[in-house]
Subunit: 218 residues, 2 copies
């Protein structure tokens, strides 16, 4: 009974996700769904990304959080068009869904954007199950979380188009093993891995080139 | 319809949680449900806690993860009776529930324990909604996650009996503001806050005294 309901919810979500995707395609906007633990640094990565893309591509952002409009405010301060979804207003949802994204889209001027970043609720589990109509999905992990995350959350990493490992400036201060992380990651995906620090700016360039390339070839 | 099903699931869970609680009470075991983001250091806190409690109190552990038996193995190496629940075997559940805990309990000798730690799936959202039959709930946050977490996940922090802020050895290397974190926390709870580093061992003593006191007064 419960499984049936979950399946029905996911099917309804997929139908809405197709609508979202069609809207984005018509506007020529590349949409990227960012998934990561609370505090993995998704917003900081987006701040850096917006600044580095700016000369070439216009970024817009949909921010998902249980509560507060803090992240949308952070991006707005960087001059990025940003819409906040607070899921506490819709039953404390632990993830975004296509319906929420479709509603948020109406508050953005899509013809003024090239890339739309959708920052999901900080959660390494539930967001992975929901298609938002995005073109690609990026998982953001971070060094202090430990090198065992791909082993422990395999289905989330398996569905990533790319993986960012953030906070590499903290590598010397932790017992994080890059070999262990990479080994776990390669068990479930061949997606490119970008190791960087949104705090220091180290390693951003290959990531920016990848995003730019994805937008160009679309 | 969906809300109705969720409510039914939560009611069924509460009934099982009462059974779990009765079993624990009959055995004189204090059960603590640990909730935190992936990589907040829940397992490391439990390793330190087991070692420091050992002369006085016997700790047992139930470990919840999507995949792998790594955490139960880590605790077993410290001489702690540990049972792993892999939720990928039960539909990738993003949280533990009372049914899973009840099943895990049958694999522990309760009369040999004083305190049972239940380490929930790494997730700051979903575990908060599920009563496992525990006597108290501890939220484990960590410095690299940032000082905004109580603001962003208010209902999780609001239900905590105590809060641990782990990885304080990384304070000098981040822009974490203890004032901002405490202010956010005090918006939703008066629960005690223990600031510590499971890595260096700093700050463990008040936490251990608190757990010991909770067990004594029960």
């Amino acid at each position: 009974m419960r499984v049936e309901v979950v399946e029905r919810v996911l099917r309804a979500n997929d139908a809405l996700a197709e609508e979202v995707r069609a809207t984005l395609d018509a506007a020529g906007v590349l949409a990227v769904n960012f998934i990561g633990s609370p505090g993995s640094g998704k917003t900081a990565v987006l701040e850096r990304t917006a600044a580095l893309l700016r000369p070439h591509l216009r970024l817009g952002v949909i921010e998902g959080d249980i509560a507060t409009t803090r992240d949308a405010e952070r991006l707005s301060r960087c001059g990025v068009p940003a819409v906040q979804i607070e899921t506490r207003l819709v039953g404390n949802a632990c993830h975004l869904d296509a319906h929420l994204v479709r509603t948020a889209l109406t508050r953005l001027v899509l013809r003024d954007l090239d890339v739309l970043a959708i920052e999901n609720v900080g959660n390494l589990v539930c967001p992975a199950a929901y298609n938002l109509g995005e073109h690609m999905r990026v998982v953001v992990a971070s060094v202090p979380e430990g090198d065992d995350k791909p082993w422990k959350y395999p289905s989330t990493f398996a569905r990533a188009s790319a993986v960012i490992l953030n906070k590499i400036d903290l590598l010397p201060l932790t017992n994080f093993s890059m070999d262990a992380f990479t080994e776990g990651l390669r068990q479930v995906t061949e997606a490119p891995l970008f190791t960087l620090s949104a705090s220091t700016g180290e390693g951003l360039r290959p990531w920016i080139e990848w995003v730019t390339g994805q937008r160009r070839t679309r």
